[in-house]
């Protein structure tokens, strides 16, 4: 007997439902409107009235219409077949929706995330009689280039035993692959697909560890100065047009992780389209397969219903945690968390809650914190490690970082990559401001060199500020050279050419080699010049050579030739002869 209720009030996508039975907080309900069934979630209960947020447009709904409650929290389907997919915020596969409904997203049409009839080659790991608990690996199927482990349901409580196990063979998602029994005689069939409520973290692991290794994004400015850790968190706030999305797109291509989940949350559809159309064409150098094969896209763009936007980041992080359970390193890129926070603000306003700063709800900080806390490196039951790294962009109002979303995020993340309008206007890519950004994680670059590089930048900036007042004439030659060193370092190392095949992504080895070269031969080197014009000419020449160097493959003859040319140019001006350049 299904529990049902009646609509008693409608305001925007907030629908009040009266129900004379019990109601579960956050359970899913369906509004029955003629032939349409609209998905909603209970978010507040007062007496026998539940306030629900509807994941669809509410046009045409009428007081008195029936609402069915489902007993289930908002969940995602987990199983083989997620990779390469494009879902909306509620995990409806968009290409299949397009086949069914054409150009538009018709309301009330929901489809299974994973196809029922696709067969997968299953290989069992455990045998009959083996003891299992939630998250234990029962067997695996090949998915793209990965071994996709079929795990005991995360909802399993206590210890169970395998009563029967299917042999090696091809099965679809509707066929049980094992049967478990509990001590009290209860039985449970296990399928390759399982559901998990998105707002609850998956915790089937031994322990959460401290992030220790650097996640290589191949962006020099990030990896060398403001690194991100595998299993860490970082945020990218920036005004519009500063290149947040471009940065995320390049990270999603080059980052050295197993799986990338892209959560396009409340942003332009056009950007998703670009990812959608280009990723199948780009070959991932690590696997030799198309990039789309390691990617899952969750896309709830700005014109799609706002309540689904709120859940889309949870859908994304749950899928990330699922693949983490297989011992993989997963990177979740959320663009943009501000739109997610705004969705919370809209719902909070409709619930008539007392607003906090800028009308954001008072629980904004704790929601943001608990989202980022779902990142981490975990030690799984079999001893292997898996990780979820979360990078979120923030779109602060007016580009001003003193706003609630940025501030709440800064409290919980491990690295901050602040984009600046000045740098992006000056066409500097990436536009991450090296003077205000920070990271708490360790880089593969030697600590002292990192410090020296930061000091050079700081000093150069200070001198540049001073020069604005007293002019070039009033600046000493030594100061002027320090200024040029900083400018040089910024333009040839921190900036990258996103349109150059070699320069767009720099490997760890190359970063170590190049930074070492710059550190010894330029930043720490003392030079002799007759005047400022000579110094300027020298650094301009160096810059031109270096840019050419940046776009040649490491290890080629050309690479070595330019290196030699650079050394010759430096030797002419260096106070002392250069010693060893290799550390």
């Amino acid at each position: 007997m299904k529990r049902t209720g009646k609509i008693v009030g409608i305001s925007g996508n907030m629908v009040k439902v009266e129900c004379h039975s019990f109601i579960i907080q956050n359970e899913v309900a369906y509004i029955i409107h003629g032939a349409e069934r609209l998905k909603a979630e209970v978010i507040k209960i007062r007496g026998n009235v539940a306030e629900t947020q509807v994941y669809e447009n509410t046009t045409g709904l009428v007081i008195g219409e029936t609402v069915e409650f489902t007993d289930e929290l908002l969940s995602v389907e987990l199983g083989p077949g997620l990779l390469g997919q494009i879902f909306d915020g509620l995990q409806n596969p968009l290409p299949q929706l397009a086949e069914k409904c054409g150009f538009f997203l018709k309301r009330g049409v929901y489809m299974d995330a994973l196809s029922d009839d696709k067969e997968w080659a299953f290989t069992p790991i455990l045998k009959e009689g083996a003891k299992v608990r939630a998250g234990d690996r029962l067997g695996f199927v090949p998915e793209k280039t990965f071994k996709h482990y079929i795990m005991a349901p995360f909802s399993l409580q206590g210890d169970w035993e395998i009563a029967s196990m299917s042999p090696h063979g091809r099965y679809d998602l509707t066929k049980p692959i094992a049967r478990l029994k509990a001590g009290d005689g209860a039985h449970r069939d296990i399928f390759m697909r399982q559901n998990w409520p998105v707002k609850i973290p998956i915790e089937a692991y031994v322990e959460k560890l401290k992030p220790h290794s650097t996640l290589v994004t191949k962006m020099r400015l990030i990896d060398s100065l403001f690194p991100v850790a595998v299993g860490g968190t970082y945020c990218i706030p920036g005004p519009f047009g500063a290149g947040k999305t471009v940065l995320q797109q390049l990270t999603s291509r080059h980052a050295e992780v197993d799986i990338v989940i892209i959560a396009a949350c409340g942003e332009r559809a056009g950007e998703v389209v670009e990812t959608l159309k280009t990723f199948p064409m780009i070959v991932d150098p690590r696997t030799g397969r198309a990039l789309i094969d390691r990617t899952v896209i969750i896309c709830n763009t700005s014109s799609m219903p706002v309540a689904a936007r709120e859940s889309s980041v949870y859908t994304a992080v749950t899928i990330a945690e699922y693949y983490r359970q297989m011992g993989l390193n997963v990177l979740l890129l959320a663009d943009s968390t501000s739109r997610w926070a705004q969705a919370m603000r809209e719902m909070s306003g409709r619930l008539e809650e007392i607003p906090g700063e800028e009308a954001f709800p008072a629980y904004l900080e704790s929601r943001i914190a608990s989202f980022y806390e779902r990142a981490g490196v975990v030690k799984l039951y079999d001893g292997s490690l898996g990780s979820v790294t979360i990078g979120g962009t923030i779109s602060p109002a007016g580009g001003n970082f003193e706003e609630p979303v940025t501030q709440a995020t800064l409290k919980v993340v491990g690295a901050f990559h602040g984009l600046s309008r000045e740098r992006s206007d000056a066409r500097k890519y990436p536009a991450i401001d090296p003077l205000t950004s920070w990271s708490k994680y360790a880089s593969f670059i030697d600590e002292n060199k990192m410090k020296a590089a930061r000091e050079t930048l700081r000093k150069s900036y200070d001198i540049a500020q001073m020069m604005k007042v007293i002019g070039e004439e009033g600046t000493s030659l030594a100061d002027y050279v320090d200024y040029l060193k900083g400018e040089f370092f910024d333009s040839v190392y921190l900036q990258q050419n996103a349109f150059d095949k070699v320069d767009e992504a720099t490997t760890k080895e190359r970063q170590i080699y190049i930074l070492n070269f710059i550190h010894l031969n330029i930043l720490k080197q003392e030079f002799i010049f007759q005047d400022k014009a000579a110094a300027l000419r020298f650094f301009q020449r160096l810059r031109q050579l270096f840019r050419g160097w940046n776009s040649t493959q490491m290890g080629t003859n050309e690479f070595m030739a330019i290196e030699e040319e650079l050394k010759v140019a430096i030797r002419e001006r260096a106070k002392e002869l250069i010693g060893k350049t290799h550390a």
Partner: protein, 430 residues
């Protein structure tokens, strides 16, 4: 059979509350007052209480007036009969033509499935070098013109509309001055573009609620044409008035304001309109150009700020010209590699040199000495402003590129421009 109710319980602002049964959310009603008829839309249902927003305003509404519910959400007529016609924000004719009631379509349709979009790849030529050459407009782009009050933004819109190669032009005017409305009508008529244009006009004197409908109606009609394979250009002026109308209604409805009085869903409201810009994979397209006036030339004001996050760049109109810094077309990379092989080189070089010119100007105004190089830059900047930036210039892209080379040659040696040799050999004026 429409239900009629006469028990209006409350009137506050332009919102009335009436007791009724079986009314759908967002449904349209017709209300008859002694001053005439108006449409109204359901914006809240609470038990028996139905709150309606009256498009023509609540002035003169009596608690005894009749409210007739129509049983469907807001609809407008669409189709080729609309071409050359002028309507108000509720779809009522403002010209002397007949009212249309055929081919009615719903406004506020669902959003397009992202997988049915294509990556934009067709340039819209405007004859304005600051757009075509430096920030190319692309079919299906959504682009605002950021401007302070008093700049010639409507003239710019009209010019683009006349010159752009599109099938249909739809003008949505919000809070438009009556003269501006006449200006658009006359200039499109003069240039023979009126027969492929449709106007939805809300003037500053009209009720606020009607202002809110203008973008929705304009875009719904545009979408209808686009689905039939037409290239549609939608001009919206001025979106700041639309946002102010949103603010007014939100505050009347006692919603909690978020930033400078604007409602918390301003971003979503703007996005759901701008995101209608689309290039369908097997049909036509919608390109949106919208004016956003910036109060106090402040780009961090909530309206331009939220707009900037949604749109694919912006044209920044200042001192009567399109300012090269601050203007950006995020989609230009999709098209400017396919025009002429010198397009990107000319674009980058001329802008970099222009930036140096601005620095030289600043240096000069601070009293620092001008070097020979600075003098060259000053000369270059003056010519550039006169022959490229001025909105009087009206030449096709190829001519603009040739002119670019001529300007460079008049001021610099080939090496000083930093353009690669192969292009210099091909294009540098002998």
């Amino acid at each position: 059979m429409h239900k009629i109710y006469t028990n209006i319980a409350q009137i506050a602002g332009d919102v009335i509350t009436v007791e009724a049964d079986g009314v759908g959310y967002n449904e349209i009603a017709r209300i008859e007052t002694r001053y005439g008829e108006s449409l109204a839309q359901v914006i809240r249902l609470d038990g028996k209480n139905v709150s309606l927003q009256i498009f023509a305003g609540s002035r003169g509404v009596s608690t005894g007036d009749r409210v007739k519910f129509m049983g469907h959400p807001m609809r407008v007529p669409s189709g080729t009969d609309l071409l050359g016609r002028i309507f108000n924000g509720s779809g009522v004719p403002l010209d002397k033509g007949p009212a249309l009631s055929e081919n009615m379509i719903d406004i506020g349709t669902p959003s397009v499935n992202p997988v049915k979009r294509i990556v934009p790849n067709k340039m819209v030529r405007t004859g304005i070098p600051m757009i075509d050459l430096f920030n190319s407009l692309v079919e299906s782009q959504k682009l605002p013109i950021f401007s302070i009050a008093g700049e010639p933004y409507n003239e710019l819109l009209a010019r683009i509309a006349i010159q752009a190669e599109v099938d249909i032009i739809i003008l949505g005017g919000m809070g438009l001055k009556h003269d501006d409305y006449l200006f658009f009508r006359d200039i499109l008529d003069e240039q023979g573009a009126l027969s492929r244009s449709i106007f939805f006009i809300h003037t500053a004197a009209d009720p606020t609620v009607e202002c809110l409908l203008v973008p929705d109606i304009s875009l719904a009609v545009a979408e209808d044409f686009a689905l039939q394979g037409k290239k549609v250009l939608v001009l919206l002026t001025d979106m700041t008035n639309f946002c102010d109308a949103l603010k007014e209604i939100a505050i009347t409805m006692e919603q909690i304001p978020s930033n400078r009085g604007y409602p918390g869903d301003l971003y979503s409201q703007l996005a759901s309109r701008y995101e209608k810009a689309v290039d369908f994979d097997t049909a036509g397209s919608i390109t949106i150009l919208a004016v956003t006036t910036m109060p106090g030339d402040d780009v961090t004001h909530p309206v331009p700020d939220n707009t900037g996050y949604i749109t694919e760049g912006q044209f920044y109109l200042k001192n009567g010209v399109i300012e090269p810094f601050g203007s950006l077309s995020r989609l230009k990379q999709q098209v400017n590699g396919k025009t002429r092989d010198d397009h990107r080189a000319i674009m980058d070089t001329m802008i970099q040199l222009f930036a140096s010119y601005r620095e030289a100007l600043e240096k000069r105004s601070m009293g620092f000495q001008m070097s020979a190089w600075d003098e060259k830059l000053l000369k270059y900047g003056r010519i550039f402003e006169d022959q490229m930036m001025s909105l009087k210039v009206n030449i096709p892209l190829e001519k603009a590129l040739d002119r670019g080379w001529a300007i460079l040659a008049a001021c610099f040696s080939p090496e000083e421009t930093g353009i690669k040799k192969s292009l210099i050999e091909k294009y540098w004026p002998k």
